[in-house]
Structures are given as structure tokens and as C-alpha cells.
């Protein structure tokens, strides 16, 4: 017991130090990749736009003007105006809030549900694992967007319900990933050592196993934000997300498709914004995958 007590602090101090150094190195490796650095810069720009929207937007995004209906881009309205004279640039700026919020909150919901369930399945094994795995398979069998549409339809159309629907629909991926990582890590020597010195199963799972399963989850979470941004835009495009008149890129495209022959600018900028934001999260996700891969060290 005394030997173990001496060994534990040493192990607990050395491992985090190595881990911290590795993660700092991973961030450096990420920033050295031009594509990932570009992605991070674009995401930072969109976050800034969302946070400072009231100061950046030239007009109130809900302000209608019957004298400026479907005006082409000009000096007063850089991105033009929509079917009831609202400034498209201001709506694109405010629309960043809905997209970023949906991306982050949905993935937070998926992580909050997926990590504990996956940890339980992977660590407990046996019947609990079999039950959770079959449940996960069942949710995965329903195509992501179709399940999100069904959930949003039954919960009622709103941005909050869209985020819940996207979060629940994306959870199985995190359950599977956490389970797989935990199953791989729990047979490692350091976990067996932690068990041998008498740590409780909960302490082993949370302190020793989970931190080692985190890197792939970070990569998946980044890519899942990209998918959630598209999913929110899709649900809003179908009328199941952000409700009018509140601005959202998806709902702006839903209206814009009806005016594509005489006001194409209404469709261009919200789409470009979704594309840029999703591309950036994909670039950062790809970059993180390489940067956190131990083989690339």
C-alpha cells in the first residue's frame, strides 16, 4: 500500500505534464497547417461578427422598407434588400448568431449525452454495452436529417427544438466513438496499474480512461459542428428551425428561392456564409485529426 501510495502521485504528476506538452504541441502543429489556420481565422471572424452584430450591421435586420423592396446591391445596401425591403447584409450578420449557436449547442447536447453513455457502455461492457449498442444502432438507422425533421416536427418548429433535434440525432456517433476509445484504453497497462492500486471504477473511468479518449472526440466534435450548421440551415430552410422574422441563413434561402429570377442576391450571400463557416469547421477538423494523431509527432 505504501509503495502504491508513493507511486500514484508520481504517475499522476508525470502523465498530465506529458499530456499538456503534447497538447500544446498539437496546437502548434494545427496552426502550422495553412488550411487549418485559415479555417480558424474564418471561424474567429464569424464569432466576432455574431458577438458584435448590433454594432456591425448597418441596419436593424427586422426593419422593413416598402420603398426598397428587392433592391440590387448598391452603396446603401451592399448585399441588396429582400422581398420586404430588409437589408440582406444586416440579416446575414445577425444570421451568424443562429448558425453558430445551433452548431455549438447541438454538439454540446450530443457530447453531454454521448460521452457518459459511451463511457458506461465501453467501461461496463456485457449486457449494458449490448443494450446501449443496439439502441445506438437503432438511432443510427434513422438518417440524421430525417430523424431531426421528425423530432423537430413532433417537438414543434423553433430554433431551440431544432438544436435539441440535431443534438439527439448526432448523439449515437459520440456514443460509438467514446465506447470504442474506452474499450481500447481500458486494457492499457496504466489503467490496470490504477486498478491494482485500488482506485474505484468511477475514478478509473473518469480520471484515467476518459482523458485518453478525448482527442478523437475533439476532432469529431469539430466536424459535427460543421454538420450541425448545415442541419440547422436545412431545418430552417424547411421552416422547422429559426422562425420568421428572426434572421437565419437557412430561412433566408427558403424565401430567396422564390425570387431567384429577379433578386438572386437574396440567395447568394446566406449560402456563401454557410459554405464558408462549414468549410472552416471541416478544415479545422481535418487539421486537428492530423495534429492530434500521435503518428504525426
Amino acid at each position: 500500500m505504501s509503495e502504491a501510495a508513493v507511486g500514484v502521485p508520481a504517475l499522476d504528476q508525470v502523465a498530465p505534464a506529458i499530456e499538456a506538452g503534447y497538447r500544446a504541441g498539437a496546437l502548434r502543429r494545427l496552426l502550422r497547417r495553412p488550411a487549418a489556420a485559415f479555417g480558424l481565422a474564418v471561424i474567429a471572424a464569424f464569432v466576432a461578427i455574431a458577438l458584435f452584430a448590433p454594432w456591425l450591421a448597418p441596419y436593424d435586420p427586422l426593419l422593413t422598407s416598402w420603398s426598397a423592396v428587392r433592391k440590387a446591391p448598391n452603396a446603401a445596401h451592399w448585399f441588396g434588400t429582400d422581398e420586404i425591403g430588409r437589408d440582406v447584409l444586416s440579416r446575414v450578420v445577425f444570421g451568424a448568431r443562429a448558425s453558430l449557436l445551433a452548431g455549438v449547442v447541438s454538439v454540446f447536447i450530443s457530447l453531454s449525452l454521448g460521452i457518459p453513455i459511451g463511457l458506461l457502455a465501453g467501461y461496463a461492457g456485457g449486457r449494458i454495452d449490448a443494450l446501449i449498442s443496439r439502441l445506438t444502432d437503432a438511432v443510427l438507422a434513422c438518417p440524421f436529417l430525417i430523424l431531426a425533421i421528425a423530432l423537430a416536427a413532433f417537438l414543434g418548429p423553433s430554433l431551440t427544438n431544432a438544436m435539441i433535434a440535431i443534438g439527439i440525432s448526432a448523439t449515437p456517433v459520440f456514443v460509438r466513438l467514446t465506447r470504442g476509445q474506452v474499450m481500447a484504453v481500458k486494457v492499457e497497462d496504466f489503467v490496470l496499474a490504477a486498478r491494482a492500486i485500488g482506485n474505484s471504477p468511477w475514478r478509473i473511468a473518469l480520471v484515467h480512461v476518459l482523458p485518453n479518449a478525448i482527442p478523437p472526440l475533439i476532432v469529431q466534435a469539430t466536424l459535427a459542428i460543421a454538420a450541425a450548421v448545415i442541419a440547422e440551415a436545412s431545418l430552417s430552410f424547411l421552416g422547422l428551425g429559426q422562425q420568421p422574422p428572426a434572421p437565419s441563413w437557412g430561412s433566408m434561402l427558403n424565401v430567396a428561392k422564390n425570387y431567384i429570377d429577379n433578386a438572386p442576391w437574396m440567395a447568394i450571400w446566406p449560402g456563401v456564409s454557410i459554405f464558408l463557416l462549414v468549410l472552416s469547421f471541416n478544415l479545422v477538423g481535418d487539421g486537428l485529426r492530423d495534429a492530434l494523431d500521435p503518428r504525426s509527432r
Partner: protein
């Protein structure tokens, strides 16, 4: 092979049970009395009473689930309140349109994704590789409903080459059918092409570095023969399975694509049902989609074992 089949089917049965529970459970998300909500805005007392009886709402939840499953097993997915038709009939009516769209989209995805993946792997770290990766990232990051709108702007509004929306049956006029379907099929195939390209690239890179490919090269075989005959054949095996998993993307994408191009398919059915609060149709479509997905994955697994004899021994 038979043991593998039995074991594989045994694993999908509990999944199907959970899928049915999940979809039945959707109804429980409705606030208040489901019969009142399901009866629509008019809330006709006769309809409410009929639904109470049909859905066995006075019985405990497990009994209601069993009644519902019994109906599903007999092909009764419920009835559309708006269209006054059995849900299964509605699905079967719309399905051929979506199947045509899906087949065209898969053809386009294969025609773009696999050659791009091969070129990218064979010419690794060259301009070709970077170019193919950029195209794949574009495909993965572009919302397909926006791509659809942009294609309508270019090919319908500006150039006037293709119809912006609508559907003509291939039996009526094949040319008009293809003109109406080519844009939606491209939009739908675009994202899948990107995924296929990435899978093909990584599978080809793995195969190209294997010993038997090195031996084929050492024998002096032409590079084209080595790539197409020796490497691609083996690389295609995982691509087939991963391709089957893209069915979900295909069906999800069809919902949006059919909405943009006003195609009266399976995807449009669920969206219209959502807006008309036709919940039985929503449930029916999700159940049908999930079951199809599970069955197709089972078939893909079987195909994988058939084309790869080593797995037959292992399983």
C-alpha cells in the same frame, strides 16, 4: 456463410425492435392528448373519438405499442388524415420517383468520386491530388439546397437550358424526364461523390503500398494495368460497404433536393406531412427509411463477405 447470415440477422432484430420503439415514442412527444393533436386544426370530435379508439389511447403505453407493432407487421403504417389514404400506399406511390433520383445521383457520384479518388492517390502530393481534395472539401461543405438554387440560377434563369422545377415521368417523355432530373441528381450526387473520393483515395493509398502491387510493378507490368487491374479491384471492396452507408445521406439529401426542385417524391412527402401535421405519415416515412437502411446494410455486409472469401472463413 449460413452461420454468418443467421448471426447477422439475429443482430438486426433487436435493432429493429428499438427502431420501432423510438418511432412509436415520437408520438409521446406531442403535447396533451395525441388524438386531439393528430386530429388537426379542425379537431372534429368524431375524428378525435375515432383516433382514440384506433390508437388505443385508453390502454397502457406498452399495450398501445404492441397494437401499433401488430399493425405495422400487417403493413398498416396508419392513415394520412389529410389525404385519407393508407401511409404505406402513399410511400409506395412516391417511392419510384425518389428511387430514380437516387440511382441517377449514385451514378453521378460514382462517375466523379471514384476516378477523382484514383487520380488523387496515384498522383499523391501533386496539383491533381490537391485539386481533387479541394473539390471533395467543396462537396462536403456546400449545402445541397443552396447548390440547387445556384444551379437553377445558372442553368434555368440565366442560360434557359434546363427546367427549374417539376417532374415528368420517364414513361411519358424520357428526354423531358432527364432534363428535369439532371440538376437535382447532380446536387444530390455531389456530396456523396466527395465522400466516395475520400474513401477511394485512402483505400487506394493503402493497396498501392502493399507487397503484391510492388511485385506487379517489379514484374514490369504497365502502371495503368497495376492501378486498374490489381489495385482498384481490391480497393473497391471497402468502398462498396462504405458506399452503402451513404444511403442515409442520399435519403436526407433527397428531402431537401425534392423541396428545391419541387419533385413529388418521398422527401417531399415527409416535408408536406410535417407542415400539414400529418404525423402518421411522418412516423411511417421514418420507419420505412430506417428499415430500408438496416436491410440494405445487411445486404452490403453479405456482399462484402461474398466478394472477400477470407471473411467467410473468419466469420
Amino acid at each position: 456463410m449460413l452461420t454468418f447470415l443467421i448471426r447477422r440477422i439475429a443482430t438486426i432484430l433487436p435493432t429493429l425492435v428499438f427502431v420501432s420503439m423510438l418511432i412509436f415514442g415520437l408520438q409521446q412527444l406531442l403535447p396533451g392528448d395525441p388524438a386531439v393533436v393528430l386530429a388537426g386544426e379542425e379537431r372534429d370530435p368524431n375524428v378525435v373519438a375515432y383516433l382514440h379508439q384506433k390508437l388505443h389511447l385508453d390502454e397502457p403505453l406498452p399495450m398501445r405499442y404492441l397494437y401499433w407493432v401488430r399493425g405495422v407487421l400487417h403493413g398498416d403504417l396508419g392513415e394520412s388524415l389529410r389525404l385519407q389514404q393508407p401511409v404505406l400506399d402513399l410511400i409506395l406511390q412516391k417511392l419510384p420517383v425518389t428511387i430514380e433520383l437516387a440511382l441517377l445521383a449514385i451514378t453521378i457520384a460514382l462517375a466523379i468520386g471514384i476516378p477523382a479518388g484514383i487520380v488523387s492517390a496515384v498522383k499523391r502530393n501533386t496539383a491533381w491530388d490537391y485539386g481533387a481534395n479541394i473539390v471533395a472539401l467543396w462537396g462536403l461543405s456546400t449545402p445541397n439546397f443552396w447548390l440547387g438554387i445556384m444551379l437553377i440560377l445558372l442553368f434555368s434563369v440565366t442560360l434557359g437550358w434546363l427546367p427549374a422545377s417539376g417532374y415528368v415521368s420517364p414513361r411519358e417523355d424520357l428526354r423531358a424526364n432527364l432534363a428535369a432530373m439532371i440538376m437535382p441528381a447532380f446536387v444530390l450526387g455531389n456530396a456523396i461523390a466527395a465522400v466516395l473520393m475520400r474513401h477511394t483515395r485512402s483505400a487506394m493509398l493503402q493497396v498501392l503500398s502493399s507487397d503484391y502491387v510492388r511485385t506487379a510493378r517489379a514484374k514490369g507490368l504497365a502502371e495503368r494495368g497495376v492501378v486498374m487491374k490489381h489495385a482498384l479491384r481490391n480497393a473497391l471492396i471497402p468502398i462498396i460497404t462504405l458506399g452503402a452507408l451513404e444511403l442515409g445521406t442520399l435519403l436526407s439529401g433527397a428531402v431537401l433536393t425534392e423541396q428545391v426542385f419541387t419533385i413529388p417524391g418521398f422527401g417531399k412527402l415527409i416535408v408536406d406531412a410535417v407542415f400539414n401535421r400529418d404525423y402518421a405519415v411522418v412516423q411511417g416515412v421514418v420507419l420505412f427509411t430506417a428499415t430500408t437502411y438496416i436491410v440494405l446494410n445487411l445486404l452490403a455486409d453479405i456482399a462484402y463477405v461474398i466478394v472477400n472469401p477470407r471473411l467467410r472463413v473468419q466469420k
